[in-house]
Symmetry: C2
Subunit: 541 residues, 2 copies
Amino acid sequence: MSQLIEAYNDQRAALIDADRALRVDRIRGPYHTVLEIKADQIVRSIRAEEARTVWGVEHDDVPSPFPGMEFITGKKIVVKTKLFQLLSKMPKGALLHTHVDLSVSPRATLDIALHHPAIHIQVPPALTTSNLASTVPRVMPQASDFSACTVALTDPNYPGDSWVPLRFARESFSPNMGGPEGFDKWLTESMSISSIAAYDTHNNNIKIWDKFAESAKLVCVSGMTHYAPMWPEYIKQFFKEIVEDGISYAECRFDFTPKHFMDAEGQDTATHLQWIKVFRDVAKEYKEELQAQGRGDEFAGAKMIYTVIRRVTPGELEWYLQDCIAMKQEFPDVIAGFDLVGDENANRPLIYYLSPLLTFRAECDSLSLDIPFLFHAGETCGDGSHADVNLYDALLLGSKRIAHGFSIVKHPKLMEMCRERNVALEVCPISNEILRLTASMPMHPLPILLNNGVPVTLNSDDGTLFNNVGITYDMYQVIAASDVTGLLTLAELARDSITHSMMSEDEKKMAREAWEKRWILFLENVVSLEAQTGVDAPLRN
Amino acid sequence: MSQLIEAYNDQRAALIDADRALRVDRIRGPYHTVLEIKADQIVRSIRAEEARTVWGVEHDDVPSPFPGMEFITGKKIVVKTKLFQLLSKMPKGALLHTHVDLSVSPRATLDIALHHPAIHIQVPPALTTSNLASTVPRVMPQASDFSACTVALTDPNYPGDSWVPLRFARESFSPNMGGPEGFDKWLTESMSISSIAAYDTHNNNIKIWDKFAESAKLVCVSGMTHYAPMWPEYIKQFFKEIVEDGISYAECRFDFTPKHFMDAEGQDTATHLQWIKVFRDVAKEYKEELQAQGRGDEFAGAKMIYTVIRRVTPGELEWYLQDCIAMKQEFPDVIAGFDLVGDENANRPLIYYLSPLLTFRAECDSLSLDIPFLFHAGETCGDGSHADVNLYDALLLGSKRIAHGFSIVKHPKLMEMCRERNVALEVCPISNEILRLTASMPMHPLPILLNNGVPVTLNSDDGTLFNNVGITYDMYQVIAASDVTGLLTLAELARDSITHSMMSEDEKKMAREAWEKRWILFLENVVSLEAQTGVDAPLRN
């Protein structure tokens, strides 16, 4: 019998190996260093311990917690864990999927707005303790000669739908509702999707987009991030926050559907060209600022992905594609690619735009312009729906990466194509969960992608709306919900985020070298932490 | 440009074909008849219409409905659809995954119990309008000389935890709580998992098992289906209900962990042998009864799968494996296989039982006994957890089918093995959803299995607990949530349920011929329905 059992166990080990053979962490396993393996073991042991001591016990304000649970509810536990604190120090590589005008923390977005006297706020009727939680305000810059209302939003005499200066609204906020701090809490909470919306009132992938649109409108469309005087401060704050999280490069999607943004006078005159120039200049300045502080390794720069909402007509799209070409010609190092955005279930599929997209591709070729498609596709639970079928078109149109690609796990041939053509997926775990594509991280299809050898990067999507600025939160959810994925998986995804970026080969080389240097320092810290606290390191699973 | 678009569309059609090439409905596509294709188109058109007219509108009592939504909430809409009514008439083939002692409709279970004076009921304190919904009673047979309490459960003077005859409890139930009908409602609802438990208070895959255990205990462990005088009536009712649903054969898992069941005197003396003999005899009688009515095609018979809860020790398991061999020798045509059951996340993994299982396999070989393993494995959201890793062992131990296999979609090598070795998965969509492995049917991994060519059958698991007796409900959820899967997919799964059963080749041949005859009649009805109502038939997706 013992021989039989030994033979069985050999067979078993071989089968598990064969099953995981396409995983990036297995393929690169032979190149992992002793230091990397040691740190990985420490992280596995912290995870196992916290699964028991943190997630395995009841918490007063979080009923039935489990690793990888609903993020909005579980975040208050996540941030207290040793695993989260450790991951927050890890160098993350590139952030390849972020809608930049929805990506600064709510608090910082508000702080910037408060410094601009032109920013005003309105609510339908006066705020009361009973309507506060359900009221989402509008915020917008007004021209300098605008005569504002100066009645507190919480004053019963406030005339509904009247614009009040933002700072005044804050200072005059009724002490019964928390005064200025109460105002801040209310407004920042309005910018993010709440646990009640995601897990109760709008708990499905169709309905939750209403809440997404509501918060998105508050944050950017209403003006806070589409207002020229705020834009340089906003984008600088974005760079600061990602660098703080360990991200050293970003490709920022920006919605250029509005043909103009608001100028200092509150008029729609700011051009796409002005907008991109500011982005480029701020990125350059910030990079130089860090270099001057000896922190050059922390930031390799940033590019923009030109996006349009997939609600325009094919004829309208032609204008945007021409505009994108013009912007690329003006800013060849800034424009990283082109994409169509917005809820795929509700809006137009890629195939609807086939003719203008093929024309664009031919024109770029004839101009020797490299504007890769970086399409959103398959951000859906559909099976054969338009949104799901977008994946065929994204790949046939030569998309260099796929944004989300959530439903690609249904498509063996498309996963094979991604693997063979080296097309990476921009996976956004927390975004997927809050938008109800998956109920919690253990149900997320990421392990399927990894086990099929599909190139993957991790991303936050909309940091303001999901309260997950950076990549640490998403990494935490991913690693907490698995017994296979470990620190070295995350490291390979970070390495791949640089490889799959649209940086030039020279830029990539520099970014990669800087990352590897910081990675070794990080590993040394993890290992010295263990030496101090004496965590037992179990064998790898 | 038009040539370019034409070439693109050709490429696109070829890619979609390649991606779906492993699907059972594609592989057998060339053998589909004109009648089948016509009926499939009709079903697609009904589905599309009801997605708009039924699921696309608001209902008073079901907020935000969508096709494939949470079953407990959506069931009241499901049963009203034309698609459901149509599917309920389809011949289903074999039911390969049913825990038979939890599989009769709650109402019928209660009706049987009410005919047995020995059945008694107790509750902790007297029932009141405020504790009624949260009180789960205990039900159990008592010996004939038992002196029962005869105070109504709803009487404030009811002495807590006292056994009252079931029928008396019903008749004396307070009119304030609905009288006898109120009693029936309360008791039948206690047998099933409620929407509040599944979608609110116990809304995760770990916690929901408490509710599962609570209802399961009420239905069977307490005695209603483990009481010898009820067993023949119960099993007959089970056969009636599945035949009513169009199922013509069943392999019934039965938990033989209790070494004895209750006899007429309420004593634990009824043996496994007696239990199986009754099952065999009732199945035989019912088959003959149907044959006498000219309905022989409707029922090919039934077998039992011997199961033990995966909480026993390896030493204890040896007793059960010997018992299973003895039962197989006594009832070679009844015992279809062996399985270990119970929540895989909480209980012992297969590898824990390696030694006794290998010994059993060798012993069966030396006795020339065919008792295949039909293991539960991968009924989990885990990634590399014990429950997930069970899949490796199920396949290495030669399991002929896999029960659930929910997490196999993470394992490319294991899906390949199932495809090549022709190992079918017993997929239980509604069970998976209510046990919170998936939040709704659109998130269920079934399309991944189909697109990877993994053999699949559809099953209800525990019809009493999930209120989904038969296979129609599960088929409805599957077909409503997809734009690819259609009637002919369901037909191939029905054909495969016969192929993957443990019937002998002769039995299979007869069951298959009977199914094909009934299938043609069904198709003719579907098509004549269309001729009457004039549904437009769109092209297949």
